[in-house]
């Protein structure tokens, strides 16, 4: 019934843009940990129309296999280049892992609400990441460090399951060597080569040095980790209005039209994924919401 024809239907072309991937090329596919890799992409022809912000995500398409929502993990000043850090857990992410330099990849985006990096200027910033949750926070770290003088204290607390799961280890070490930033890392369970902290990441909050009244917290990780982190921050006196979390749901379209990522009255893909903790505190506690 439907035929693919060349006639120019401007309206369709304009609007359907949101559903049609833009082609990017893999510049570099670098392995981060045993199951995580980072893709460096550059546009083949036209780049994505919108400049991206920290905390936003793109839909990445592996030819014939499918599409997955992946947060941008690179420096936003490098636009139109894109960096995505991905854990290979399913068919699409495994296909993406096997991409080589020069291969094509489909990209739609950027989608979602970003971390409020601009709006929190002047405050102490505490970034708390769990596992691969460090990837969506990295663009925010870059942006904060580019404008370091605009912020108070900057603290990064990172937790991973095991030492071998630590993401961006070299970069963490580099940041830790800075005198204008405090970085601490913990693992849930250690091995014989690990001499650092052992325990869950919310525990690091108790001893961190920041001004609770004038602090913005960016938290990203598994939902339960974000909940306990927010509770620990609350206990230190940080208001839930100043705690930002990034939620994860099944995203298919990325533009709030397919319904998959809906949680209560929110389409996480377009209304989120970044929310203040006060916006979602009640909702995330409802069973199977």
């Amino acid at each position: 019934m439907e035929t693919t024809i060349e006639h120019n239907c401007e309206q369709v072309v304009n609007n359907n843009h949101t559903m049609t991937p833009t082609i990017y090329r893999v510049e570099k596919n670098r392995r981060d940990t045993h199951d995580t890799f980072t893709l460096h992409l550059s546009p083949e022809d036209q780049p994505l129309e919108t400049v991206y912000e920290p905390g936003q995500f793109n839909m990445l398409y592996a030819f014939g296999v499918g599409e997955v929502p992946i947060s941008i993990s690179g420096d936003t000043t490098e636009w139109p280049k894109l960096v995505h850090t991905i854990r290979a857990v399913g068919s699409v992410t495994n296909a993406l892992q096997s991409l080589a330099t020069g291969d094509s990849i489909g990209v739609r985006g950027p989608y979602g609400k970003p971390w409020p990096v601009e709006a929190t200027k002047g405050k102490d910033i505490i970034l708390v990441a769990g596992g691969i949750g460090l990837a969506p926070l990295r663009p925010a770290i870059y942006q904060i460090l580019h404008n370091r003088e605009s912020y108070g204290k900057v603290i990064l607390l990172y937790g991973s399951r095991r030492p071998l799961d630590i993401l961006f280890r070299k970069e963490l070490e580099k940041w830790r060597s800075r005198l204008d930033m405090f970085v601490d890392v913990t693992v849930d369970s250690s091995d014989r080569n690990w001499n650092g902290n052992v325990g869950v990441v919310p525990r690091l909050i108790d001893t961190a040095n920041f001004d609770p009244i004038d602090t913005a917290a960016f938290v990203c990780g598994p939902e339960v980790m974000m909940r306990f982190t927010a509770m620990a921050l609350n206990k230190r006196g940080v208001s839930s209005d100043n705690i930002y979390v990034s939620l994860e749901r099944n995203m298919k379209c990325g533009v709030g039209l397919c319904g998959h990522c809906q949680m209560s009255n929110q389409f996480i893909c377009k209304d989120g994924p970044v929310y203040t903790y006060s916006q979602v505190r009640e909702t995330v506690l409802i069973r199977e919401i």
Partner: protein, 406 residues
């Protein structure tokens, strides 16, 4: 004095404009017979519309392509109740003496399967080409008030948000609507509660009311838009007499009075949002088959999934948009498991969306009272009954608290 002059001036102007331009204008009413109805169909076809109308199909009345009034379900009527749908043939000559069928306009504006684009690969590289369908404009015949309201709801969801559905928009822009006022209702209808029917009030191009007696068979025809005017202006129809207009009013009044099912909307959104722990969800979860019929039959449900496929050689791939249902376990799947694993939680999600969170998202209800989810549920789960049970619980609890305070 001033107002009288103005009123007079208006009257004269109206007369002049009527006599100078055309005899017809929006809001005019005509009375036509079957032949004249067919002439509207012919006029639409001449304007290159494909006609979609109610037909008898697989023992239901469903929208499908039609050519003339001969294809309409003459004499057919329907019986509907929770979990039950039957069509019946009668000796009557009626063309629209039934209510909502198994499908709605959604199928045409927002197709169940739609290819978005195709990609072709050359080694590691590929290109993507959008699928731009060659669409013929559609004229929908016999659209009911509830389905018209459903279209209005889908317009809001799919074309007035941050992101728009271009296929829907294209279909919608070229759509011609010949609505029909319901001359009967079935037990699952509750459009009166939702303020959507049984008569059409706006958003149509032409609207019909079937007027049938032992000896006569006529239709009141109302013109609702310029597009509608354009189709009928050369057809030389007779203006409807006061009696015919009154007869049409009576038909609608009779239908309105026949609708007994109600959905009490008073604070229903608050009740629903506060009832996520209610035991009724577990009870429904045991009954519900998770078949997704309600979401497929619902004229406003818009959830879809995106499917990627390749041909056997692996050189071309395509992405298809397909209707999806929040009743499947995969719907909320996230690595590690689904968010809504229990059947009750999925029904709760669907119903709370329809009647509560939808209002927060789109400033209108997601339900139009067509009753399809009740009729087409194989186990007859009734959204109006569930709403009443939740309301009763809140009332009972408030009552208990009030007694304690005494």
């Amino acid at each position: 004095m001033g107002t009288t002059n103005k009123a007079l001036e208006k009257k004269i102007n109206k007369k002049i404009s009527k006599s100078v331009t055309s005899d017809f204008q929006i809001g005019d009413n005509f009375c036509i017979d079957i032949k004249e109805l067919d002439s509207i169909f012919t006029a639409l076809k001449e304007k290159s519309f494909d006609l979609i109308g109610p037909t008898v199909k697989e023992q239901t009345i469903a929208f499908d392509q039609i050519e003339s009034v001969k294809d309409l379900p003459e004499g057919y009527t329907d019986e509907q109740s929770p979990g039950i749908y039957r069509v019946k043939k009668t000796d009557s000559k009626t063309l629209f003496n039934f209510t909502t069928g198994s499908n709605s306009l959604k199928k045409y504006l927002y197709p169940p399967h739609h290819t978005l684009w195709t990609a072709s690969r050359n080694k590691g590289n590929f290109t993507v080409k959008e699928n731009i369908p060659n669409l013929k404009p559609l004229a929908i015949i016999g659209l009911r008030a509830c389905d018209l309201k459903a279209m209005f709801v889908q317009d809001r969801v799919l074309t007035q948000g941050e992101y728009k559905d271009s296929y829907y928009q294209l279909r919608r822009n070229s759509l011609f609507i010949v609505a029909v006022n319901c001359s009967r209702s079935v037990s699952t209808c509750f459009c009166t509660s939702m303020g959507s029917g049984p008569s059409v009030t706006n958003d149509f191009d032409l609207a019909l009311t079937e007027l049938i007696t032992n000896t006569t068979h006529k239709f009141r025809l109302e013109v609702g838009s310029d597009k509608g005017l354009d189709v009928v202006k050369n057809l030389k129809f007779k203006a409807a007499t006061n009696k015919e207009l009154n007869d049409a009013k009576e038909v609608i009044k009779k239908t309105t009075n026949s609708i007994t099912r109600q959905l009490d909307l008073h604070h229903l959104d608050v009740i629903l949002k506060g009832s996520h722990d209610h035991k009724i969800w577990d009870e429904i979860g045991k009954e519900c088959l998770n078949c997704g019929n309600c979401t497929m039959a619902c004229p406003t449900c818009f959830c879809h999934t995106l499917e990627d496929t390749t041909d056997l050689t692996g050189s071309t791939a395509q992405r298809t948009r397909r209707w999806d249902s929040c009743f499947t376990i995969e719907f909320s799947y996230l690595h590690g498991g689904s968010v809504r694993t229990s059947s009750g939680a999925r029904y709760r999600h669907w119903m709370t969306h329809k009647l509560a969170t939808w209002i927060e998202q789109f400033d209108m209800s997601g339900c139009v009272g067509c009753g399809r989810c009740i009729t087409w549920c194989p186990v007859g789960i009734d959204i109006t009954e569930v709403a009443q049970t939740l309301r009763q619980t809140v009332l009972d609890e408030a009552h208990a608290v009030a007694w304690e305070e005494i």
